[in-house]
């Protein structure tokens, strides 16, 4: 693990380090058990197939599903694409309306846009200022043409938790399938596909201390959800997803789920303590810092803070030793302000200076304290140089200023 304090990893929503216990479980499947159809003769070994089925059970268990409801994929992006395009395409003749939300992950939104080009109608629900959807509005938006509601469990940028059980109930009552992108939620908050009436759920391994290139889609059997496969071929995963399964990655994913299920309660408490320490540390030393998304209805490992009166790129340059993200990793190469923050009504200047701080299993108190210091120093340094900060200190309302056009 990274113990080098020259660089502090605070980007757990982007990707998590593979847990050493997961690595340990995977390695034998890269070596003696790897792709070896004869490992059944190995006195201590399981066959690759058995290992995959054990993993499938471990994944099912963490969300209270049946192992037969787990379809292994290459990651949450594939799961989201498969769920949304797969269901919409399969039921296309009967129903042609999907409801999602403006703050969903890009792969959900892009899947929906792709379907719109094919004539499917998509409603993008707005969110309240705290990032949570309006349940009444959701209910009113569902029509007899609606086939699917896709609402993420936890937002990747602002960490807010949507009222999944309530959404599930509305969908079940209305006879509409409910898909949730739970890539950021599994292992962090309790999820139960039956209690929450979830019909489809996307899971990612590398967001929960498992390997990259691995994920799953939960597909309910009763009442049965059917979908059109995206990848056809040998008919693996009950025809829903063809392609040879990567045994070691399946094993690693399963182990990651087992660990998360076992340790979720203690781990959440540990992470929440670190997050509170970070938040308090910043708020005690800096003013004009805003938390994006509901401060309480969020996963313990996420903070999304905006720093007024600093300049975004300058801030990033000033905290080079902190590996944090501005906006989601997938789109962070672009300098456009985050569409998630825009949906919350965050002003453009503040959106530009937002940082996503992702705290996780291996974060230490020492790293948190170091990060607070680095961040406070950088913000103070930038503010000293800022004429806007000076004006604000003098009590000038910046919004009242008529800027000259150049």
């Amino acid at each position: 693990m990274n113990t080098n304090l020259d660089q502090i990893y605070l980007d757990y929503q982007s990707s998590t380090p593979c847990d050493p216990r997961v690595v340990e479980k995977m390695i034998p499947y890269f070596t003696e058990h790897f792709g070896n159809p004869h490992s059944r003769n190995h006195p201590h070994g399981w066959t690759a197939e058995e290992a995959v089925e054990i993993a499938r059970k471990q994944v099912a268990q963490i969300i209270n599903a049946d192992p037969r409801e787990i379809v292994f994929t290459s990651g949450a992006t594939e799961s989201n694409n498969l769920a949304i395009k797969g269901v919409a395409t399969f039921y296309r003749d009967k129903k042609d309306h999907i409801i999602t939300c403006v703050t969903e992950h890009k792969c959900v939104l892009d899947s929906c846009r792709h379907l719109e080009q094919a004539g499917v109608k998509v409603t993008y629900l707005p969110v309240h200022q705290n990032g949570i959807i309006d349940l009444d509005l959701l209910e009113k938006t569902i029509t007899d043409r609606t086939v699917l509601v896709s609402i993420m469990a936890v937002n990747n940028e602002i960490g807010v938790i949507q009222p999944i059980a309530e959404i599930g109930k509305i969908c079940r009552d209305k006879g509409v399938f409910f898909h949730t992108d739970a890539a950021q939620a599994v292992g962090k908050i309790p999820l139960d596909v039956n209690a929450m009436n979830i019909d489809l759920m996307s899971i990612s391994a590398h967001k929960m201390y498992g390997p990259k290139g691995m994920g799953a889609l939960y597909v309910r059997r009763k009442p049965r959800v059917r979908l059109h496969a995206l990848i056809n071929g040998g008919g693996q995963e009950r025809g829903m997803r063809s392609g040879t399964l990567p045994t070691p990655l399946c094993v690693g994913f399963g182990e990651a789920c087992a660990i998360a299920q076992r340790e979720m309660v203690t781990e959440s408490a540990h992470i929440k303590k670190l997050k509170d320490r970070f938040y308090q540390g910043i708020m005690n030393r800096l003013t004009h810092v805003y938390c994006n998304g509901d401060l309480n209805l969020r996963v313990p490992g996420n903070l999304n803070l905006s720093f007024a009166y600093v300049e975004g790129e300058g801030l990033m340059m000033g905290i080079k030793e902190l590996s944090v993200s501005s906006g989601s990793a997938c789109t962070s190469t672009s300098l456009e302000p985050s569409y998630v923050l825009r949906a919350l009504g965050v002003e453009e200047e503040l959106a530009h200076t937002s940082l996503r701080i992702g705290i996780g299993r291996f974060t230490t108190e020492q790293e948190i304290d170091m990060a607070i210091n680095r961040l406070v120093e950088a913000v103070e340094r930038l503010r000293v140089m800022s004429p806007l900060w000076e004006m604000a200190q003098e009590g000038i309302d910046l919004k009242s200023i008529q800027w000259a056009n150049h």
Binding site: G75, C107, P211, K320, A329
Partner: protein, 369 residues
């Protein structure tokens, strides 16, 4: 314990030690390759290094390599583009055939090679844009397709060409520019890399419709965080494979076939008259169905296959042999034996012994019966 013989490289090759080492080392690398911070850049560096190694091997540019989760996905990605007509050979892998149920099937001759005059006819009738998908080498018989002729015909008719090279990679030279195709599918686990990684090599100027949309990774052709470990293993396997001695494998395969035919002159090598991969043989044991052969050979410690080993151990009639005009009854007596870089002469001897024993006890042609 008895020594086990693995002669099913076409299903999945064993992981090369170098690939294993490279992946275990890379497990310590953390972060998302799309992140711009220190950790993200480090992962990105590893990823791009691997991409370069793979591109160099095929004499392509790194920009042309689109990583996927498997060869199956690479085939689906190419086939599911916006084509008005798709023409595929009758012996393609299910991931090609099933990706486009609307495709027109071009027959093959009795040797398993695509019928070029029929292809010409189909191309004349096809609507633009047209895609022709022909594999480089067949997974069951090892028969190599006349891909240069296919490309010439397709180009003449303004069609694009996809080539599934998954079984051919490493075993015969593949140079992007010499091949002249527009899309090429490759897979890691057939050449000693890990399962769960493949790639589609694309022409820089030809548009592709992504199967998976989202974060815009892989130049927006394939969204989803890259399987960095797997990709590193893939590149390492490609590098290691360059030292393989396929002439030696070819020699072993030929010895195996000759020896089997010495035991049983009626044993047929399917596609044997065509140009083939050096490691593959599809051979019959007259009068003995392949499930019986597989079971008995398995008991003797030999892992071979009755055909494509995709979804399950289920033995279904081979569509490849059917397409070659082999009667179903005869096709049901064929097994696929696929050798690898690590196969040794004594292993072939052991296999022959096992084959002979099964033949003696099961075949009505055997004088011992």
């Amino acid at each position: 314990m008895r020594k086990l013989l693995y002669l099913d490289y076409n299903a999945s090759a064993p992981l090369r030690p170098g690939a294993k080492r490279a992946m275990i080392e890379a497990m310590d690398v953390i972060g998302n390759p799309s992140s711009t911070h220190h950790f993200g850049r480090t992962v990105r560096h590893h990823l791009e290094l691997a991409r370069k190694i793979i591109a160099d091997f095929f004499e392509a540019t790194p920009k042309q390599i689109i990583f996927t989760s498997s060869g199956t996905e690479a085939n689906n990605l190419a086939l599911k583009g916006d084509f008005a007509s798709v023409i595929v050979s009758a012996v393609e892998h299910p991931s090609v055939l099933k990706a486009r149920p609307d495709a027109t099937i071009c027959p093959v001759d009795s040797s398993g090679q695509i019928d070029l005059s029929r292809l010409t006819n189909l191309l004349t009738q096809s609507q633009k844009p047209t895609l022709v998908s022909v594999m480089l080498a067949n997974n069951e018989t090892g028969v190599i397709q006349p891909i240069k002729e296919v490309v010439a015909l397709a180009k003449h008719h303004g069609a694009l060409v996809h080539c599934d090279a998954i079984q051919a990679v490493g075993k015969i030279p593949i140079h992007w520019s010499q091949l002249g195709v527009d899309f090429l599918s490759i897979s890691a686990h057939k050449i000693g890399g890990p399962q769960g990684v493949g790639a589609l090599i694309i022409s820089p100027e030809i548009p592709l419709r992504p199967l998976l949309v989202g974060g815009g990774q892989e130049r927006s052709y394939r969204s989803g965080t890259e399987n960095v470990l797997g990709i590193i293993g893939f590149a390492s396997a490609i590098e290691a494979g360059q030292a393989d001695n396929w002439t030696q494998v070819d020699h072993l395969r030929n010895t195996l076939e000759r020896s089997i035919q010495k035991i049983c002159p009626q044993a047929t090598v399917f596609g044997g008259k065509a140009n083939r991969l050096p490691n593959t043989t599809c051979i019959s044991m007259p009068g003995v169905t392949n499930d019986i052969q597989i079971m008995n050979l398995d008991l003797a410690g030999c892992a071979v296959s009755a055909g494509p080993a995709c979804s399950s151990g289920k033995v279904t009639p081979s569509t490849v042999l059917k397409a070659m005009g082999i009667p179903e009854k005869e096709a049901a007596t064929a097994i696929r034996i696929s050798l690898g870089w690590a196969t040794q002469a004594d292993e072939i001897d052991d296999f022959l012994g096992a084959w002979h024993t099964v033949y003696k006890s099961c075949s009505p042609l055997s004088e011992h019966k």
